[in-house]
């Protein structure tokens, strides 16, 4: 065990202060210290992308980032997208286009799409595939995920209908 560090950060619009060991990853901190278990751990080496969250407006693999590095950051997780049970247009699109099966990787895909669709004013097949290419899904074979993001992009006015 090693000395704990005090950190302050904002997660889904709420301020937190916490003590963390330096070796605790951001994903473990979010899941086990803050109880935000919607972000999932798939590989713990940055390949599968299931743990993707937003840190200061950029998509980040929270298994490759330490909690202490998030000191002062603004973090958004899957729990931060829906409001009072109302799905975000991206989540709505995934439900409508059958973009998930077991759902374990889904928060990673939704957050990756969230970064793309909040950052870019317009997207196309290439930009969508580039983002989805960094996340692994073992169930769907990606077609329905692609169609979900395409649908979300249309709903959000980022792609011509």
């Amino acid at each position: 065990m090693s000395k704990k560090h005090a950190i302050r950060l904002t997660v889904n619009g709420r301020q937190y202060e916490a003590e963390v060991e330096p070796r605790v990853t951001l994903v473990d901190f979010l899941r086990h210290q803050l109880g935000l278990t919607g972000t999932h751990v798939g590989c713990e080496h940055g390949v599968c992308g299931a743990c993707t969250v937003m840190v200061n407006g950029r998509a980040v693999r929270s298994c490759l980032m330490l909690a202490v590095q998030a000191d002062g950051a603004e973090v958004v997780t899957i729990e931060g997208l829906s409001e009072d049970g109302r799905l975000h247009p991206i989540q709505e699109a995934f439900a409508e286009a059958h973009g998930l099966q077991c759902g374990f990787c889904t928060p990673g895909f939704v957050m990756s799409a969230y970064e793309l669709l909040t950052r870019e004013s317009e997207v196309d097949e290439g930009t969508i595939k580039e983002v989805l290419g960094g996340v692994l899904c073992r169930c769907t074979g990606y077609k329905a995920i692609y169609e979900s993001v395409q649908l979300a992009a249309r709903k959000m006015g980022k792609m011509p209908a």
Partner: protein
């Protein structure tokens, strides 16, 4: 509880007590989606219990070694450590796990010897995972390394290092099956063609690894496990057996399941956590497998095979017989169910073809590798690479187009139900129609013409066309060949309860897993009882309270669960009809249910809603004769009908349904790098009545993705000492969106005559056909060079090697 012969259940949507279905058969949204999309679904690692400890496992660094000494004293002294267990402790607390083949089980922590890299040796429970892992560094183990054997062909020979000295051999199972007059078939053939195939190790790799929280109750002498269980009641039996407890003392609580594909069945984690909890005085112990552990020692390695196959054909393309010799590298024990994968092909040995005779020689061998587990398709994916590969080899030899070769050998549509030489009965099918639809949809002739043109430009473009039968609604009967204690039933039960306010509550024994089972149950019950999907709730419960069940696996749940909920609904309908006869003042037998109303036959104006009847049954027993059963819930356990035990050649009616599909892959091989790109992919499939076409389409696309991974990318590589070299997702390659094209698919519907609503199992089918389609396409691309790749995966290195050989550089 109702448990009666399945054949009383509705065989088609038309037989349901409704005018027309509003939900079933339609691409209804998944009821499972909202909790998964918002991060609210609870997976094993999401659960925290008061006082919970965390487990870490010390694993073997050697492929084969004797354990001379273990010293855990320093680990026990580390602050935060509560309990440590070793193989020695386990011998007192836990019986060896059962094995398949029988007799090849082992202990959940190594005793005296380790037999594969990653084998658990000791385990620690501590206040957090970091501390538990720190403690592992303090455990001292003295090993005496032994020579490892990692090649099954070497391991089966005399003089090879023995994994189990007391067995005197590494051969776990050997059997030659002969079906029909194979000798005569090969004598009378105009051509006999032979080839060898090698299928390398691969596996399930769901994105969620296995996880469990075990809590021992020292007062009751009982255990509760919350975890990522695919087949909860069967896992409970294994855990009860190993811990020496009656089943009533083992409660498994299945959690939402981040995929499985068969690859989470390893029992060690739950047993280790349970014993640690016992040692820790009953504090709950969580063990979450990390990805390295999953790849190295989890339930994620399947099928490693050496094949030799011969096909006997006439000049006109008629296939007279097939012989397949398989040496299956099972790994270090039979603790997982991998061995079943070598026997499952009996259920569809000759594929879609009317081949009269066959032989199958199976040798299972123990080696110093992670014991084989189940994986989607359970053996037939490799079998069909061989069978379809041989059909293509014969077609090429005879100068026939692969489509024509297949058409000439298809089982004719008028011969169903059809018994194949290896004993299983196919329920129904129309294979020529499937093929016609595929050729039309893909503009096959035009593709062949374009291929000719591209070949002239020197491009290596190939088409792989295959047809396959997917055995569905699995049965254990054939696995008695391996000593599995089983009969002819794999049950699935459900309880359906009605309340006066119009809700329909369904209780099942398996958790969310991704195939949309809760959705189709919701569709079916909303239709049957004429309510909205909102009014239906499907809940999973623990193994102590759930109806008898197996859960998802072996392409069965669409069939089995339809049977279970329909059986319960039918039982309720009969109760409601009887009760309504008293309320409507007519003879029992004079009332029928239709569109949610109970009405007097021939007098439809005399009627009442089922909600009113349930209300009376719940609140006004005085309106009914004394002693009448007024409960408004029913449980039904569905079992596959008309199955039998295998004969001396392993022949049995095993899997109840025979879904079929034709797949076509278009690939291009880069001659400079050997890399294969799948450019386009088409599927026509027939899984009988489709309960939710969107679910079928999703599983088809996902299964093809796994098939492409199997055919081109995924491989566990061991070195000569048994060290695993592929220990991350950077070495063990899963397909990404860039490797998987969108599948163009079409459906045919030949309902099963033997199942509720005519449904056939389809969950594994796309994975069963896709590796064969891709490999056949690669070899079609390479055909002008006169070489073949028969190692799967056809990785860039292997394909490049074949091309180099053709060019005289190999």
């Amino acid at each position: 509880m109702v448990s009666q012969a399945e054949w009383h259940l509705p065989r088609s949507l038309e037989e349901l007590p409704i005018s027309s279905p509003r939900y079933i058969g339609k691409p209804v949204r998944k009821v499972e989606a909202p909790p998964l999309l918002t991060g609210r679904a609870q997976f094993a690692d999401d659960l925290d219990l008061p006082g919970m400890l965390h487990c870490a496992i010390l694993r073997s660094p050697y492929g084969h070694a004797r354990i001379k000494r273990i010293d855990v004293s320093a680990a026990l002294e580390l602050p935060g450590v509560v309990a440590v267990v070793t193989g020695q402790d386990m011998q007192q607390w836990v019986r060896p796990m059962g094995g398949i083949p029988s007799g090849w089980g082992t202990h959940c922590l190594a005793v005296d010897k380790v037999r594969f890299v990653g084998e658990p040796i000791a385990a620690v429970a501590a206040v957090d995972r970091h501390t538990a892992e720190d403690a592992l560094d303090l455990i001292e183990v003295e090993f005496e390394p032994l020579p490892a054997v990692v090649n099954a062909l070497e391991a089966k020979e005399e003089g090879a290092p023995l994994l189990y000295e007391d067995k005197g051999t590494n051969v776990m199972f050997h059997r030659l099956f002969t079906w029909g007059d194979a000798a005569k078939a090969f004598q009378e053939a105009d051509h006999v063609l032979t080839e060898q195939f090698r299928w390398h190790r691969l596996g399930a790799n769901p994105i969620e690894t296995f996880g469990v929280i075990a809590q021992w109750d020292p007062v009751e002498n009982a255990v509760t496990c919350w975890g990522s269980f695919q087949a909860p009641s069967f896992s409970a039996m294994g855990i009860a057996g190993a811990l020496g407890l009656p089943l009533s003392k083992v409660k498994l609580v299945p959690m939402a399941h981040g995929g499985s594909f068969g690859g989470k069945g390893n029992p060690r984690g739950a047993l280790i956590a349970a014993v640690l909890s016992r040692k820790a005085g009953g504090r709950p112990v969580k063990w979450i497998e990390d990805r390295l552990e999953y790849l190295m020692a989890g339930g994620g390695q399947a099928w490693e095979r050496f094949y030799e196959a011969s096909i006997a054909v006439k000049n006109d393309g008629t296939i007279l017989g097939i012989r397949i010799k398989l040496v299956d590298d099972i790994g270090a024990s039979g603790e997982n169910s991998g061995a079943i994968s070598a026997i499952k092909p009996l259920a569809a040995f000759t594929g879609c073809y009317a081949i009269p005779a066959a032989q199958y020689e199976v040798t299972m061998v123990a080696t110093n590798k992670n014991p084989q587990s189940a994986y989607r398709g359970m053996g037939p994916p490799a079998h069909y690479v061989v069978l379809e590969g041989m059909v293509d080899i014969a077609a090429r030899h005879l100068g026939l187009d692969p489509a024509e070769m297949r058409r000439r050998n298809f089982i004719p549509p008028d011969r169903f139900p059809y018994t194949i030489p290896s004993g299983n009965e196919y329920d129904s099918g129309n294979y020529p129609a499937l093929l016609d639809r595929l050729l039309e949809m893909s503009s096959y002739q035009e593709l062949r013409r374009q291929q000719e043109e591209l070949r002239r430009q020197g491009r290596l473009v190939g088409l792989g066309l295959v047809s396959a039968v997917e055995p569905g609604a699995f049965n254990m009967n054939v696995y008695t060949i391996l000593g599995v204690p089983a009969g002819t039933a794999v049950p699935e039960g459900a309880t359906v309860a009605l309340d006066p306010f119009g809700s329909v509550r369904v209780t099942v024994g398996f958790a969310l897993e991704g195939q949309g089972q809760y959705t189709f149950v919701t569709q079916l019950m909303a239709d049957y009882f004429c309510v909205t999907p909102d009014q239906v709730k499907v809940t999973c419960t623990d193994t102590l309270s759930a109806p008898v069940h197996f859960g998802p696996g072996g392409s069965r749940l669409a069939v089995a669960l339809t049977g279970a909920v329909l059986g319960a609904a039918e039982a309720l309908r009969r109760k409601l009809e009887t009760a309504a006869s008293y309320l409507l003042g007519c003879e029992p037998g004079q009332v029928e249910m239709m569109d949610g109303m109970l009405r007097v036959k021939g007098q439809p104006e005399r009627r009442m809603s089922w909600q009113e009847v349930v209300g009376a049954m719940s609140a006004r027993p005085d309106l009914f004769p004394p002693g009448m059963d007024l409960s408004t819930q029913a449980t039904y356990v569905w079992v596959p009908p008309d199955r039998n035990m295998p004969d001396e050649q392993g022949r049995a009616k095993s899997y109840l349904t025979a879904a079929a599909a034709c797949h076509l892959a278009l690939v291009e091989v880069d001659p400079e790098t050997g890399k294969v790109d799948v450019l386009k992919y088409w599927v026509v499939d027939d899984c009988g009545t489709r309960l939710n076409p969107a679910t079928v389409a999703g599983m088809t696309q996902g299964g093809v993705a796994q098939g492409i991974g199997a055919a081109l990318m995924e491989e566990y590589v061991y070195d000569a000492d048994g060290q695993l070299l592929t220990t991350t997702f950077m070495d063990y390659l899963l397909p990404t969106i860039y490797e998987v094209p969108p599948v163009e698919s079409a459906e045919m519907v030949t309902p099963s005559p033997f199942t509720p609503l005519g449904v056939k199992g389809m969950g594994e089918g796309p994975m069963i056909s896709a590796p064969a389609a891709v490999i056949c396409a690669v070899n079609d691309a390479l055909a002008p060079l006169g070489v073949r790749v028969t190692d799967v995966p056809a990785s860039p290195a292997r394909v490049w090697q074949a091309i180099a050989q053709a060019r005289g550089q190999g």
